[in-house]
């Protein structure tokens, strides 16, 4: 059993593994602890490949398993990693997104206070997928991921056309409601 003062080493005797938690982890602020834990999970999955939660608890030597669960939930909700939720599985397996595909296939959609970032992955192990992550933009310029979805490359076309149809239907509904309200608006304004 590893403790925090004994970081897991598997590279060399004097080198710290990139996913080892900082020695002074307990002295960090809660926000810094959360960031350190997320960075450690990402580094482990990137270096060692997919892993179940029980393995992550053991390898990262986290002090509390439920803290790790929060980090895993956050990372999977914002599509920085993804989850193999087999039905009935108690020990879920987490996967890294893999290698980014061509930079030309990525986009940042800037919508003021919200940004959407589209990333595409092409990995021998993780497969071909596209993720959309939503970021909240603070007035200071700081950006925080708040949510996201993951779509297989094969389903992107169907999803895009469904979104377009949905948008068209929404436009019709909104314009219909507006048209229906016109006479009432006229009455309200005294027939002008």
């Amino acid at each position: 059993m590893h403790t925090l003062n004994e970081p897991v080493n598997d590279t060399a005797d004097n080198e710290v593994a990139p996913w080892a938690l900082p020695v002074r982890y307990n002295e960090l602020s809660p926000i810094e602890q959360a960031k350190a834990l997320r960075a450690a999970v990402l580094a482990y999955l990137q270096a060692r490949g997919s892993a179940a939660k029980s393995i992550l608890v053991k390898e990262l030597a986290v002090p509390r398993a439920d803290t790790l669960q929060k980090a895993l939930d956050y990372l999977s909700a914002t599509q920085q990693i993804y989850l193999d939720a087999t039905s009935g599985s108690r020990d879920r397996i987490y996967h890294s997104n893999g290698r980014l595909a061509h930079p030309g296939a990525e986009r940042i959609v800037d919508c003021g206070k919200i940004q959407y970032v589209i990333r595409s992955y092409n990995d021998r192990w993780a497969g071909q997928a596209l993720t959309i992550t939503q970021y909240a933009v603070q007035p200071s310029g700081e950006r925080n991921p708040v949510g996201g979805i993951r779509v297989d490359w094969r389903d992107v076309e169907a999803l895009a056309s469904a979104l377009r149809e949905s948008k068209t239907a929404l436009d019709v509904v909104v314009s219909g409601q507006f048209a229906a309200k016109q006479p009432q608006l006229k009455d309200d304004l005294g027939g002008r």
Binding site: P18, R24, K35, A36, R38, L100, A101, E142
Partner: protein, 459 residues
């Protein structure tokens, strides 16, 4: 997200010609010279030139600049782009904004260190630890050597809080590319490996989206000397860059940014200057070749009036300061610390007030890229109401103005001249005259022949 598109019709040279493309929105012609405004004069000059439609494909914003500078650059670097009275945008062709992470603040006592320390938001413990380190250890003052401090931070605190602070600082500078700070590269292979290793670890721990990500490397001038360790370190540097595309999981569009730390000015003066400059030219040539192979972008900072050298070595974006000097950092060592130094403290104030020295601002010659003589400029103005100026600048009798406006005019001249040089280089690459002849012709008109002959591989 960004992508490099090569120009098929351009000449084949050490440099690649083309441009950065952000699909569906913008095209930034490359290679480019990029101003790095740190003072209000420099920011003002950049803004004025942008208003006069000067070519400005790239802009480098240091993260620790005062608020006045970021406010001046706001509209240009990503703020609201307001319209003129005839309905046109003020800056339709906005530049691509790169940050200068100023990692010299984490190794030496420079001006930016003081500015980072006065950050209004709380600094993380890891950054505080690094800001107390120096190039040499001093156990009496409790100062660690910068490499040891980085190792300690990696082990004790991890890089996530540090990365998060830099992420916020670079977002606030409106940068669209994230550059991670890294420990200073000394004349040893171990320091080279450590810089790459830590830099990419910081890149991997950021959570925000940027158009591209990369590592900012601070090279100490000792890596450019001719001893065995430095030669080995330079070889390791290039092999770390080659690993970017030889790796089984290559990086996507890696941005590698290089700044030279030369506190003893060994590149511009002294017996070894020429050798070091040749080594620098060779290193930049090999590094940019490896970065291009990896499909990335090569950036160097603070080359001042030597910008032609890195451009000829194949670097895509060459930063310069509006002061016009070369490879200068704002060191704050000049103020002696009497409390800690061995020198005796002056007991009484000097009895007489020293006569105020006449401050004189030299004019700048945009053709020779050096200081000009005021008497000659005055004579030319008297004769024909004109003197040599850079494109987008009007000749005016600046010596009759007050010192503040004179300084503004000089900064405007320097910035315009170096931006024009970048534009000239791009058009020469697409022209029919061999690029080598164009460079030779330009260097012949410049003052610093020796430095250019050492730095330019085409000569």
């Amino acid at each position: 997200m960004l992508e490099y598109q090569s120009d098929g019709a351009a000449q084949v040279a050490h440099t690649r010609f083309g441009g950065l493309v952000r699909p569906g929105s913008a095209f930034y012609p490359m290679p480019a010279t990029a101003p790095t405004p740190r003072t209000i004069y420099e920011a003002d000059a950049v803004l004025r030139l942008a208003t006069r439609q000067a070519p400005l494909p790239a802009l480098i914003v240091p993260i620790s600049v005062r608020r006045a500078v970021t406010a001046t650059l706001g509209a240009l670097a990503g703020g609201p782009n307001q319209m003129t009275l005839d309905g046109k945008l003020y800056f339709p062709d906005r530049p691509i904004v790169l940050p200068d992470p100023e990692s010299e603040a984490l190794a030496t006592g420079v001006d930016s260190r003081a500015r980072i320390q006065s950050d209004t938001l709380t600094l993380p413990d890891s950054l505080r630890e690094l800001l107390q380190s120096g190039l040499t250890a001093d156990p009496k003052k409790g100062r660690k050597e910068t490499g040891a401090a980085w190792e300690l931070v990696r082990k004790d605190f991890g890089f996530s809080a540090l990365a998060s602070w830099y992420e916020r600082a670079e977002s606030q500078a409106k940068a669209s590319i994230f550059l991670a700070p890294s420990p200073v590269v000394r004349g040893t292979s171990a320091s080279v490996r450590r810089a790459f290793d830590f830099g990419w670890q910081i890149v991997d721990s950021i959570e925000t989206a940027f158009d591209a990500v990369g590592v900012h490397l601070l090279l100490h001038a000792e890596i450019l000397s001719d001893d065995v360790n430095s030669i080995e370190a330079r070889g390791t540097f290039v092999s770390c860059l080659i690993a970017l595309y030889r790796d089984p999981n290559p990086r996507n569009f890696p941005v590698i940014s290089i700044k030279i730390l030369d506190p003893s000015k060994s590149l511009s003066s002294g017996p070894e200057a020429s050798i070091r400059r040749r080594n620098l030219g060779e290193l930049l040539l090999r590094a940019s070749e490896a970065i291009h192979q990896a499909g990335g972008l090569a950036v160097v900072h603070n080359f001042g009036t030597w910008v032609l050298g890195p451009l000829d070595c194949g670097v895509d974006i060459v930063g310069f300061r509006g002061t016009g000097r070369t490879l200068d950092l704002d060191l704050i060592y000049s103020t002696p610390d009497y409390a800690t130094s061995n020198r005796t403290k002056p007991s009484v104030a000097p009895p007489l007030v020293a006569p105020k020295r006449k401050q004189r601002i030299q004019p700048f010659d945009p053709v020779r890229l050096s200081d000009a003589r005021l008497s000659e400029v005055k004579a030319l103005w008297k004769k024909s109401q004109a003197f040599p100026v850079a494109k987008h600048v009007e000749p005016e009798p600046f010596w009759t103005w007050d010192k503040l406006r004179q300084r503004e005019f000089r900064t405007l001249q320097v910035t315009a001249a170096l931006l024009e040089l970048g534009e000239e280089f791009r058009s020469a690459g697409k022209g029919t005259i061999p690029i080598r002849d164009c460079i030779r012709d330009r260097v012949e008109r410049m003052q610093e022949h020796d430095a250019m002959f050492d730095l330019c591989p085409s000569l």
